[in-house]
Subunit: 202 residues, 2 copies
DNA sequence: AAAATTCTATACCGAGCGTTATGGAAAATG
DNA sequence: CATTTTCCATAACGCTCGGTATAGAATTTT
């Protein structure tokens, strides 16, 4: 049933689904799931409502595909951070990667995950749960990475890996809140510098 | 025109406006401005819609009064923090006060300000602007307090007061995001401990 | 060329939103 | 006790929402 083969009968689609999905992502990213109306989405995507429903199912399915795209393209820095050789490198890559992702000139400011982690209407309940679950898995990976750093002596033995991972995620989320509410990127830059200056050395 | 004198003609109001406002605050706090429908509000407040409009004006005016109440009652720890003798005391009071305020057993989890700082629909645009402005003024006060600490030698001279204030506010906001999305308070407690362990000593 | 299939576009649907008008009951004033 | 004022309750208004049915245009395969 999936459009596995583009060589199908009938009139072919007149728009690029990937491009339309990218446009939808930008709408969700800047307005949130509930704040993004179907009219907003179709206008940004350049298609009509029936085309959207035929191509993506419904609003929630469209959001899920946009979320996958976001995680694959905009959250790559989290996966890269896990590969850094030192715990400080992990933290630095997380902070600087998040800063870049949240303050791009061509993309909406802020973080799609943060927007949907805070409570809104009842219709977005399952979406919030999904976003929160994805963040929890990322956070668990960071906890494991910091635990390894403690075991290897890369981090002082007296620090709590879970607490530290929780803290750095809180900083990332706070950065998302601030970036999404108009705080200029220079201010966020100084925040990142302050955070790295405080990082437990040696 | 204000109900300055309770000794007025006609039938008196049958409900307590303060109590109703407190109930409305809890609804806004847990569902957000847009997520809180008039039906949600009137049910929680125990009054009907015309009574609400007669007593508070409209939904936005009700929110503003609830926001004032929130700031006066639940954000007292921020004003108290400014009076702490040391910068570390300020930070500790902020972090522990926020943790207590955001994880109370009898109140909604999370932070009313954070909820409305992230983008949602267009109707909440002015509300977001108001909340963001109030936070900015609090943040500016913390910057000034940290600057004083640097001048007094309470903080190392090489640190940036604005960056540090921005960082601690990001932690508070991240705490709000996490508390509002189900992270248990013990985990947030360990995050606070980790943050204070990293605080620039001496 | 003809038939079949899938596209796009317009209009509509039921539901929920914030808000307000209408009516009747209740309490204070004179 | 009568009047007046303000309350409460029901219902309706205009609007937007997500989602869909219908119909016509366009491009494929047979």
């Amino acid at each position: 049933m999936e459009n596995a083969l583009p060589a199908c009968k009938g009139r072919p689609r007149e728009f690029c689904t990937d491009q339309a999905l990218a446009s939808a992502l930008r709408v969700f990213w800047s307005k949130g799931y509930e704040g993004a109306s179907m009219a907003d989405l179709t206008e940004a995507m350049g298609i009509t409502k029936p085309s959207l429903y035929a191509a993506f199912g419904n609003k929630e399915a469209l959001f899920h595909k946009a979320l996958d795209l976001y995680e694959a393209e905009k959250l790559a820095y989290i996966r890269e951070a896990l590969d850094q050789p030192t715990a400080r490198g992990v933290a630095e890559h997380l902070l600087r990667g998040a800063l870049k992702a949240m303050t791009s000139q061509w993309e909406p400011k802020g973080c799609l995950g943060v927007i949907h982690s805070v409570a809104c209407g009842a219709e977005a309940e399952s979406i919030k749960a999904e976003v929160v679950a994805r963040r929890a898995s990322s956070q668990a990976a960071i906890v494991g990475r910091f635990q390894r750093a403690v075991d290897e002596g890369d981090l002082p033995a007296n620090i709590d890996p879970a607490g530290l991972a929780n803290l750095i995620f809180a900083v990332l989320q706070g950065m998302g809140v601030q970036a999404g509410s108009g705080v200029p990127s220079e201010q966020l830059q100084s925040m990142v510098d302050a955070a790295l200056a405080l990082w437990p050395s040696r």
